[in-house]
């Protein structure tokens, strides 16, 4: 059965140029989930194998997509369009550009690690199926060029996450899952109204009812309409990301979810929010974005400072990571709304960085929890001598999270701050304070856990260092954290053209009267659309 999923992946790699990579990317996890569905409940080993094989196949296809991707080109690539609900103007339109490319790769990697590293013993079948469905929904969101298709995938992610928290979470899972679902559902409910309103305005102007983002970007919006639509869209993204002060669900959900859930929520589904901001807020409502940028920059900075301060007082490691994650999302938000090429590129890069770092942190926390059954920082101490490899790994991740040069966190934060400083100096200044605060709480936690005094009662209990399997799960993350810190160039080369094109679009719409010299004409989107 698992061979089937692998075969799909290999077929993708060996296929012709016209091979629908992105469709295969989205449907492969669904196929694997269906295979897992028909396997008997007791065939745990086979189900796990199908799950990992499916995720591996997706990673293979994602690698092929990276290989196919033309660097230096800003428009959408590998576009495939099929009518779906033709009479309502909804189509199965998938495409990828520099903004979504690395998020797709990140998702493919993290889902594989989550499936391979998850230690869930109970009800493996349902768990695997939910993770695979979540993977399909996330990949579908990142690749959708049709706004409604994006919304469908975006909204669909709620269901697997909800069931993952309910089924395999910690004590207060029911409360956390409910809160998560209702918050995010409310946000996206507003977005649905916004989407419909935007399409209706576009149809009024052109007579064509379409949800294709490539056509919707040309809609002329009045100031008020633009602002209202931006707010409606951002309601969904702000909750999903989450942006301060819409974050209150996230510490609970991240805390109570099983490790795979936390990794995927913070690493991937949170990125749906920030990705949505860059793709849809900036792309569809440039004028309103410029108008409201100070508001969101302020929220971003508030998130950085608030997240850092609250993280500093957390006793619970998972909550600490959750709040630090809020602070990092703050950086991505200011990067996106500072609206310079550097800052937005930095924001996109930082989404990937944050995914890698937070995933690694949550995985490490889970590994500690598995050994000690506690996430309370005060109950841990002196683990460095017992588990030196784990301590070193933890240190690398913490340093990357702080933004130490040479690791990936630095590159993203630097670009964001440098870009923001150009247009919004004071916000950048306050945000820098957040970097310092991050150093405080993360290093404090690291010190306490690995170098602090060991508690009397814990002294006799064994503490294993990283196992072979745990090391294998963490290794790709550590390699990428270091590699992207030392040599980010190949990544930025692919992100920047798309971001530049987006920024040019924003400036042209927001300030149409300023003549621009030397700016390249935005590449026509249709060029690669077959």
């Amino acid at each position: 059965m698992s061979a089937h999923a692998v075969a799909v992946g290999l077929g993708a790699v060996a296929g012709q140029r016209a091979f629908p990579f992105l469709t295969a990317l989205v449907l492969t996890p669904v196929g694997a989930a269906l295979v897992a569905l028909v396997l008997p409940r007791r065939a745990v080993w086979a189900i796990r194998a199908v799950g990992v094989a499916g995720a591996l196949a997706v990673l293979g296809i994602a690698a092929a997509v990276l290989d196919e991707f033309r660097a230096g080109f800003g428009g959408y690539q590998m576009v495939s369009v099929h009518p779906w609900v033709g009479s309502l103007g909804i189509s199965w339109s998938l495409g990828i550009d520099g903004i979504s490319l690395f998020l797709v790769l990140l998702s493919a990697l993290l889902f594989l690690l989550a499936l391979a590293g998850a230690g869930e013993r109970t009800n493996v079948k349902s768990f695997t199926i939910w993770i695979l469905l979540l993977e399909a929904a996330c990949l579908g969101s990142f690749c959708s060029l049709d706004v409604l298709l994006f919304f469908l995938f975006f909204e669909t992610t709620l269901v697997p996450v909800y069931f993952i928290i309910v089924g395999w979470g910690h004590e207060k899972r029911n409360h956390a899952a409910m809160k998560f679902f209702i918050y995010t559902f409310t946000g996206s409910a507003m977005m649905l109204v916004g989407i419909v309103a935007l399409v209706s305005i576009h149809a009024g102007q052109t007579g064509v009812t379409t949800f294709d983002i490539r056509q919707l970007v040309q809609t002329h919006l009045s100031g008020t309409a633009g602002v209202l639509l931006l707010l409606a869209f951002t309601a969904a993204f702000a909750v999903k990301a989450p942006i301060f002060p819409f974050h209150t669900w996230s510490p609970d959900a991240y805390r109570e979810a099983p490790v795979a859930g936390s990794v995927l929520m913070a690493g991937v589904t949170a990125k749906l929010g920030t990705y949505g901001i860059v793709r849809f807020d900036l792309g569809l409502f440039p004028h309103a974005t410029v108008v409201l940028a100070p508001v969101f920059l302020t929220l971003g900075v508030a998130g950085i400072v608030y997240g850092a301060i609250v993280a500093a007082v957390q006793k619970d490691l998972k909550r600490l990571v959750a709040y630090s994650s809020l602070a990092h999302i703050g950086f991505i938000v200011i990067g996106a709304f500072a609206l310079t090429g550097e800052s937005v590129s930095g924001a996109v890069l930082q989404m990937v960085n944050h995914g890698l770092i937070t995933a690694a942190l949550f995985l490490l926390v889970a590994m500690i929890y598995r050994r000690r059954q506690t996430m309370n920082v005060a109950h841990l101490g002196g683990l460095q001598r017992r588990a030196p490899v784990m301590a070193a790994t933890f240190a690398v991740v913490v340093l990357a999270s702080i933004g130490v040069p040479g690791l990936n966190g630095f590159v993203g934060e630097f670009l964001i701050l440098a870009g923001t400083f150009l247009t919004h100096r004071w916000w950048a200044v306050v945000a820098v304070a957040g970097v310092v605060l991050a150093a405080v709480y993360l290093l404090w936690a690291y010190q306490q856990i690995f170098h602090g005094p060991e508690r009397e009662s814990e002294r006799d209990k064994p503490f294993r260092d990283l196992t072979w399997r745990e090391g294998a799960v963490l290794a790709p993350l550590i390699v990428l954290i270091v590699a992207m810190g030392v040599y980010p160039r190949p990544v930025l080369d692919r992100i920047t053209p798309s971001v530049d094109q987006l920024i040019t679009h924003v400036e042209q719409v927001a300030h149409p009267n300023i003549p621009r010299v030397g700016q390249p004409e935005p590449t026509t989107h249709t060029e690669v659309a077959k």
Binding site: W84, V85, G86, S87, L88, L148, F151, L152, F153, E155, T156, L158, V159, Y162, F163, V166, G167, H170, E171, K172, N174, H175, A177, M178, F181, I182, F185, T186, A189, M190, L192, V193, V196, A197, V199, S200, Q373
Partner: protein, 520 residues
Amino acid sequence: MTPFAALAPAGLAIPHIDYTALLPELILLGGVLVLIGVSAMTPRRLPTGVYATMTVAIAAAALVASLRLWRDVQNHGAFTTVAHSVDVDGFAVYFLVLVSCILIVAAIIGSGYLRREGIAGCEYYALALISGSGAMLMASANDLIFIFLALEVLSIPLYVMAGFDRRRPTSQEAAIKYFVLGAFSSAVFVYGIALVYGATGSTNLPEIGAFLAHNVITANGVLLAGIALLIVGFSFKVAAVPFHMWTPDVYQGAPTPVTGFMAALAKAGGFAAFLRVFVATFPTLRGDWQPVIWALAALTLVGGAIVALAQRDVKRMLAYSSINHAGFVLIGLQAVTTKGVAASAYYLFAYAFMVLGSFAVVGVVGAKGDRRHDLEAYRGLAARNPVLATVFSVLLLAQAGVPFTTGFFAKFYVIAASVGAHSYALAVVAMASAAIAVFFYLRVVLLMYSTQPADPGDEATTPGPAGGGVATLVRIPVGRLVVQPSIALGLAVSVGVTVVFGVWPQPLIDFTRAATFIFH
């Protein structure tokens, strides 16, 4: 003309009747006679499955007849018959198809329930068929008097069915309550007809429409009062806030499959006539009644969702959720556009299958005696019957409007219609109510997948060790729940329609887009 013409008293002309146009209704009514005849002529009581099979066959025949009519209307255009009091247009035939489908599914689900409760006899099915024919006539009625007659044909069997479980006092109470309030609303409705007739000189919808299009009534108090009373009458039938008071009691008291049938059928029939009367007949007066519908829709959406939060009884909760759904259908009416009508029609189709399936599950969990409807009955359902829990989760999430179900496209469609008519605020209210509604749908889902014991202290205050103690698990009902094959079949159809048309919405959307009124 017809042979009966000679029998008519002088001066009363029997109009020409195109019987093929009325074939679906006639099949149902003929089927009733067959059922009763078979029941009377067999010496021993036949098992309920026999009647169920016959009902399914009758409803399927009506479905085939409806689909033939659909083809005729699509190919040759809409027409009227019986002196313009029956409309055979896309809209009417769409509802003929829907009602036939509801009858089929309801008969399948009902048979399992009747067998379990030991209620034999053909009456249940006969009443369902009569009621179905009433709903069909509601959809095709083109005359206010005719609508009133159809409304009674639809309602009276439902009153009886609500009290069908005679051994249970709540069932009888539901029947009486439904009957009294239903009769009251019918009276209001007739009064509305009288006033509209007084103001316009006709009960025929196209004639009223034409009259209003060509005349300006300067003192239109009587007409507006008539319209207001019609709105009240319809609002009672479709359970719109503040005319919904009967709904929770009746939904709770009626035998569970009857509740599902009633919810699906009465809403379909009621809204079909509601849409036709207001969108096709009174569009010229929309400035007067549109704000009223706006307010009704907003109240219905928010009221249904909020009050449902407080319910401990799942049947009551679903009753309020159905009120919330009625609010969504009203949004399509409020738009007063072709798109709005199509959206409402789509919503009713999606809703019918979701609600039939949901109440079928409630009926199964209610167990013999149909009494276990407290939320606690759902605790740990996933352990007792994983498939049933999955099915119910799908149906509840669909009702919440989760993507890749018909429930999502239903909400999307009405929101699109509402925004298209520039009712942005109503769209926002609707989605906010949907977000509230998520809470009570998910609460049931949570309970079904919960392995934690019922605890008054609740999980918020008692952290406890992960995993919980074994000894605390005893309160969860143990043993597998048995789902009868017929109910399983009915659930499979409901979930199938909900999911298949959620992933592949094109055919159903096209169907609704063609379900337009005849415009005179």
